[in-house]
């Protein structure tokens, strides 16, 4: 696998297309010889990022998912044109309070090696996630 190959997927901001983004990350991670557990983590993170994007974007807008393939890691960026948020103002999640939202970002940060949010109100959101290939 040459460094820096990029695959880009554009999906409508609709729930039924999240599985397509998961399928694509599964395919590219398989090509990079990630193991099953790492592929499951990637599917989870991409699914959560797309879910957030769809929840916070207009129904007819477009979500862009870019997969950048490197020999030892995969970078995934999920970009929406939604209402955005202030990443520094994220409320903490208290499980004992039985939260019904806010779990997605917790999951992404737990399963990926690097996560970066770029967002501002009314300017959309870009989530950049890095997963390194596990050593065998």
């Amino acid at each position: 696998m040459s460094a820096g190959h990029r695959v880009e997927l554009r999906i409508p901001s609709r729930a039924e297309f999240v599985s397509t983004a998961r399928l694509v990350v599964s395919s590219v991670a398989c090509r990079l010889d990630f193991g099953i557990d790492a592929i499951d983590d990637l599917k989870l993170a991409v699914g959560e990022a797309c879910t957030n994007a769809i929840k916070h974007s207009p129904a007819d807008s477009e979500i862009i998912i870019a997969y950048e393939l490197h020999p030892d890691h995969l970078i995934v960026e999920v970009v929406d044109h939604g209402r955005g948020f202030d990443p520094s103002a994220r409320p903490s999640v208290d499980i004992d309070e039985l939260p019904q939202s806010g779990l997605g970002l917790m999951v992404i940060e737990a399963v990926m090696d690097e996560v970066c949010f770029q967002s501002s109100p009314e300017q959309g959101t870009r989530v950049r996630m890095v997963k390194r290939r596990p050593t065998k």
Partner: protein, 124 residues
């Protein structure tokens, strides 16, 4: 559009106890269907629920939020909700979010029903 549909199987075992089996993927697209089924059960008085995850191939935070919401609803009616036999990838999700401290997670349907019986479920 290729989306693995969710199949929901419901068994009403007693006056206030039901088993809900979620088969397939439980995500942003399919979770509303599961939520509707569970809400209807609670409205019918089935406030002790065993949710079987043995054949839940994929689950995300939307589904977790739905389960947490369902737990809140049944507790408002003095009921409870137990999770049964989650697959390793779903168990990992529960571990990451620390929801294992919130839900009663049982290895088998029988043990979940016994646990719910001890908390007020009417088992024939």
């Amino acid at each position: 559009m290729e989306t693995m549909p969710i199949d929901i199987k419901i068994r009403k075992l007693g006056a206030n106890l039901a088993v809900v089996e979620l088969i397939g993927d439980c995500d942003l697209y399919t979770t509303p269907k599961a939520k509707q089924a569970i809400v209807e059960l609670i409205e019918q008085g089935y406030v002790f629920l065993a949710v079987v995850l043995e054949k839940t191939a994929y689950m995300d935070s939307t589904a977790l939020g739905m389960l947490v919401g369902s737990l809140k609803r049944v507790r408002e009616h003095k009921g409870d909700l137990a999770l049964v036999a989650p697959q390793p990838r779903v168990q990992r999700l529960l571990d990451i979010t620390r929801l294992t401290t919130v839900f009663d997670v049982s290895a088998t349907e029988e043990s979940a029903i016994e646990s719910l019986r001890q908390r007020g479920a009417k088992v024939p």
